[in-house]
Symmetry: C2
């Protein structure tokens, strides 16, 4: 009934607190007989040490934080799976903070990570963050952190990302090969590393193919709620009927494109070819099946977490060291770009 602490355990056993504590962690200072007794009693009484007392004393929280924009997104949930996988093997706990693409919320979350609440943080920045002041605080407090997927450019720090530029290039190349004359790139926020790199690759491919001279705007920012995006796309396709190819920079844009086409009776791929950066499992069974550039989401989460733990485990983490690991995505052609 009343809280079971190491003190009551000690009293029950007729031992000192120190002895019990050491016995529980298999110290060599304790005889094997008493160890056995202690373990048995602890098991019997179902003793679980108070994690916060331990954290306070050891200055280790045994927990990491994951800060990301959203969890209802296949990429991020897969990444979380990867992170969780390595966290559990390390016996670590994971706190989740959702920024919902708000800089304020993200800053707040980062602030929570100061002062020893976590031993490290994994972060994928929101589309609204244009300054890294909050992340610099982490650096100042010497708290290990690593970016995954959405990094902060020009910021020296460990990051694990995918080959965004190359994929943007490949996407455009495919559309061009399939005959598109006016493909556009749908961005969510050009301040986002993934978007700017992908669109840069996209633009480069257009330039290489000599398609940039027909003066159309080929990188378009789509922001807001799903409904707002829907309307923007509606207007875009109505205004510019020459658009014959689209690269969606993120998952949620792809869905809205399909919905707009459904409503406006635009045929994919005949009227419009579509490629999406996405890990959507339903891509093969969409109408039509969707050509995707699929990121290794689980692996990105996993290797980011692994990188974080190597930093946590060495006492002197050279946080300022920039180490970028790039896990390539794969282009999977399906019917949305056929013909």
């Amino acid at each position: 009934m009343s809280k079971l602490t190491i003190k009551t355990l000690a009293k029950e056993l007729g031992l000192s607190i120190a002895t019990v504590s050491k016995a529980l962690k298999d110290s060599h200072e304790i005889s094997s007989e008493t160890k056995k007794k202690v373990l048995a009693m602890a098991e019997q009484l179902n003793y679980v040490p108070n994690p916060y007392a331990s954290s306070l004393r050891k200055q280790k929280s045994k927990t990491i934080a994951v800060i990301l924009p959203e969890v209802a997104d296949n990429f991020f949930s897969l990444a979380i799976n990867g992170i969780q996988a390595v966290a559990t093997t390390k016996n670590y706990h994971v706190l989740i903070y959702l920024s919902h693409e708000s800089f304020e919320i993200e800053k707040n979350a980062v602030n929570h990570c100061l002062s020893g609440r976590v031993d490290g943080v994994l972060i994928s920045v929101s589309s609204a963050t244009t300054t890294a002041s909050h992340i610099e605080k982490l650096q100042n407090e010497n708290i290990p952190f690593v970016f995954f997927d959405r990094e902060f450019e020009n910021f020296k720090a460990p990051k694990v990302i995918t080959n965004d530029y190359a994929c943007g290039y490949e996407a455009a190349k495919l559309l061009i090969k399939k005959g598109c004359k006016q493909p556009v790139f749908l961005s969510t926020s050009e301040s986002l590393s993934i978007c700017s790199k992908r669109s840069a690759g996209f633009a480069a491919a257009l330039a290489d193919a000599g398609l940039t001279n027909n003066k159309h705007e080929f990188v378009i920012d789509c922001t807001g709620t799903q409904e707002m995006i829907f309307e923007q796309l509606q207007k875009l396709l109505k205004k510019n009927k020459k658009i014959d190819g689209i690269v969606a920079s993120v998952e949620k844009l792809a869905m809205q494109i399909y919905l707009v086409c459904l409503e406006k009776n635009i045929n994919i791929p005949d009227d419009l070819k579509v490629i999406a950066f996405s890990t959507l499992e339903t891509a093969p069974i969409l109408n039509p099946s969707l050509t995707t550039i699929t990121q290794p989401a689980f692996e990105i989460g996993k290797t980011a977490a692994e990188a974080l733990f190597t930093m946590i485990e060495k006492k002197k983490h050279t946080i300022t060291a920039e180490s970028v690991t790039v896990l390539p995505s794969t282009l999977i052609e399906r019917n949305s770009t056929s013909g």
Copy 2:
């Protein structure tokens, strides 16, 4: 550089630790002038109190745990959104534990929640849990918890769920109305509350329509990895060509059905009509668009969290009290059941 504690803050201000502590929490014992000074200095030095020291003394962790099978599932990620939404308004932190449908992992996670790591827990049980011994520990330690979606039947506790039985009934009724003679229900685990209730409703509708006498097995368990499920479905549809309707109890089953039909050239809805319990956003743009029974995932998470917090906030939480709130799902007819 060195950790900034309340002690250094106090020394810097020429005040006692106690005074600073009280000033920071706006105690009436402190004059407004010193409060101002303290706040200013705290702001300037960027002081963040150590949460674990505070937790230890106050016996409150300001964090809750969410234990669920999976995060890469639309229903659960939406539920997490709902949970997070209320947690942030309460200034609470949320720990996430993924059971991946394993009882052992789930038990482990529950154990972590003992001993004051969290002030409460939200749990959606794995398909492998058939005993509630681990959850009883929570009760014994008087830790507030509430089930969401996947409850443990015959267990007196607060739960927020959806109207599974009625939806199973409705799903079957729709298939029958559309002319199905041998509809089947695809379960993932009959030990799971949601599945058993949904299948019970399904069976009841079949009985009411007089369709149970043709002796076919109409509730089928599909377990294992996605690949294993794919194979099971392949065999099922090959063996029993009379099956003309399917209700998928969970999201991931629906996808496999579509894939099998794609491979075996089975036409949906002509050869086979499909309904899925799912919150898939891509349902309208699938080929064909998928008829779903859509759970109010966000609201389930939200109200579960709200229920948890009312328990946390009253000192004497009558945990044994069973209070079931049911949030109804909605059947959305699409092309996978047309004709």
